[in-house]
Amino acid sequence: MITFTPRDKVSKNWTIMGPALSIFFTVFFGLLIFALLGYDPLETLYQIFISPFSRIDRISDVFVKACPLIIIGIGLMLCFRANVWNIGAEGQFIMGTLLAGSFALLFPNVENKLLIFIMIFIGFVGGALWAFIPAILKTKLNVNEILVSLMLVYVAMLFIDFIVRGPLRDPMSFGFPLSKPYSDGALINKITFPGIGYLGQLHYGVLFIVLLIPFSWLFVNKTLSGFKINVLGAAPKAARFAGFKQNAITITVLLISGGLAGVAGVIEVSANIGQLQPEVSFGYGFTAIIVAFLGRLNPVGILFAGIIIATVKLGADNAQMSMGIPKVVTGLFEGILLFFLLTGETLQKYKIKWSKVKK
């Protein structure tokens, strides 16, 4: 049997060596695989890690891609810190988008940007309501929130599918499942730079991260509510002795993370798609779980984790465009990267013991 025991103290050297070794192994196995498959290994690494930063508009696109991951990741951070396992951010993302989008479609000719702010609020409510279901079931009936939140993802997917094929289908779409386009007021514009114009798809929604990260850092580290969340996760018994209301905290973190997922959805769709379609999320809600852990459940870490994941995804596209490396190969590399990063972190914190099971 394998047991993980927490290390008393993490040595200084290992906090540097851990990530360094992770990167070393990732690069080593990456080079090996690319070379064995007959691709120029150094060029491939260049494409994956560096090419996304080789032009200013590509850098902008990294942030655009990372934006929903970071917003959802911050919400999940609160849940995971409190030991509440919200696996259904994908569904909350969809429901937030759908509710806000349906609202936007009620105003087909509005140009006032007030509409998008109302939509962001409604998106928060929509996502929070969807997360409220596992929250209430968990606190009242002690139903496992992992299962409920996960299963609700599929309900949400089918629901938006039904809505855009039925009630909200654009009559001019020849039966194709698309809503009418949003009015101007419901769209998030791309940022125009004087003299340059657009930078990739960089849009004003990305500014939300700039607000969210310091705010969430303060919330987690400097407020009583943040402290309660941390204690509940680290030592549930201590939290109870201290008189913290466990159920209230559970509900709160689920509502906030659901709400943020909904906001991420509104921003993503209003900035990049501009109408409702059967698929609005592309696994962001699931990828954000990795982002939250890769960022060590800490706002600044999540910012970087989001950027790393976005970089690798964009780099994979670049590698394919310029070198014809199929997605399965770059996907494999992405897996290796995540494996070593997370393993490195675990080994830093835990000792592993192998022992025989006594019969």
């Binding site: 150094l42 560096i50 655009v64 039966g175 798809q201 990049n272 379609q277 596209d317 310029s322 014809g324």
Partner: protein, 369 residues
């Protein structure tokens, strides 16, 4: 230690950038750069594989005169916009976006790159530099109907539809027209899979059809799962998009094969000679360049697993469709509730096909939604 690591890393980065510059500076000047965007990885069957085969025909035809970049597995959302823009930025002169969901992303990027030509497959929105191409898939389904009508013993045909949109419905109706041209007693039941590609759901739908007595199966979904079930249970069926006889050698009667190659080649040739245009088809149907059997954009695989008499009838249907002797949607047409669609002497035009929201006689049930 850290310093050392840094040195190694900077060395790696440096050498990689040098290599990159070398590669970039050596590309030849006279090539036409062509970009393709794929919805999935091509694999060995189905929609994207058919496009991959088309791309290979382009490579064969033009050789070193074209430089092709492909991006596969691109979701139909913001990623598509980014990928298409990146392809345009890298100097591709013509970009084929090969799925319906790339419609808005293609139009968006096309606005930013007025000198790049875009070819959106199966869409219905065009602009100055966005053309649309599509295949008359329904023509193959008419022949499927003819073969099904002659082969069925139970007079029950099981049809698996992807989504209830005009594209799929006109396929079902064309099948019904073919079926009823040879067998007035047979009828079609439809199960909606609500997916273009999901082998598990498609297999389940096939099992249900067979359990309810269908002995011939047809599909408007993408995986070979239906044929594999048919093979196992002794039923027969038709392959979709590409020849699927390798998956079901005893069950596939024939496959309607999407043949994009000639279209791609023609459009690239037009580009090279400065004659590229967005065609003159009106805006009210999908694909202003809408070719079928006659244009060689749809081809029919070998007729197999059927008596020679049936194969002969199928060949006759194929020939008459090519020569225009058969007009699939010629009146009188009656829907399956008995309501007249058009009287005899008239026939549906392309615009009417894209507005189809009814089943013709010979199809059971109602269209959902």
């Amino acid at each position: 230690m850290i310093k050392f690591c840094m040195r190694i890393f900077s060395l790696v980065a440096l050498s990689a950038s040098v290599l990159f510059l070398l590669i970039n500076s050596t590309f030849a000047g006279n090539q036409t750069k062509v970009g393709f965007v794929y919805l999935t990885t091509p694999g060995d069957h189905g929609w994207t594989y058919a496009h991959e085969l088309g791309k290979q025909m382009v490579e064969k035809r033009f050789g070193d005169d074209v430089k092709i970049s492909v991006v596969e597995n691109v979701p139909e959302g913001p990623d598509a916009t980014r990928v298409i823009r990146e392809l345009a930025k890298q100097g591709n002169e013509i970009i084929f976006t090969t799925s319906f969901g790339y419609m808005e992303p293609t139009l968006k990027v096309a606005k930013e790159f007025p000198n790049v030509k875009f070819e959106h497959i199966t869409g219905y929105k065009r602009s100055k530099n966005v053309a649309t191409g599509n295949i008359r898939f329904y023509e193959g389904r008419y022949i499927q109907g003819v073969v099904a009508g002659l082969m069925t013993k139970t007079n029950k045909i099981g049809y698996i539809g992807a989504y209830p949109i005009a594209e799929v419905i006109m396929g079902i109706n064309a099948f019904a027209q073919g079926l009823r041209s040879v067998n007035k007693d047979a009828s079609i039941s439809v199960i909606w899979a609500n997916t273009w590609y999901d082998p598990v759901k498609e297999a389940d739908a096939a099992k249900v059809h067979i359990a309810e007595g269908a002995d011939i199966l047809a599909q408007h979904t993408d995986s070979p799962a239906m044929l594999q079930i048919a093979e196992k249970k002794g039923a027969l069926g038709f392959g979709q998009s590409t020849d699927m006889s390798a998956f079901a050698p005893k069950a596939q009667l024939f496959a309607s094969i999407n043949n994009w190659g000639p279209y791609y080649i023609r459009k690239i040739e037009e580009l090279k000679s400065g004659k590229w245009n967005t065609g003159d088809g009106p805006d009210h149907w999908a694909g202003n360049d809408w070719g079928g059997l006659k244009a060689d954009m749809l081809i029919i695989s070998k007729f197999q697993n059927m008596p020679s008499g049936v194969a002969q009838k199928a060949q006759e249907a194929l020939d008459s469709l090519k020569s225009g002797k058969i007009n699939i949607f010629a009146g009188p047409l009656v829907d399956n509730t008995g309501k007249e669609i058009i009287p005899s002497g008239k026939s549906l035009d392309d615009g009417a096909l894209w507005g189809m929201n009814y089943y013709l006689k010979g199809v059971n049930g109602k269209i959902p939604g």
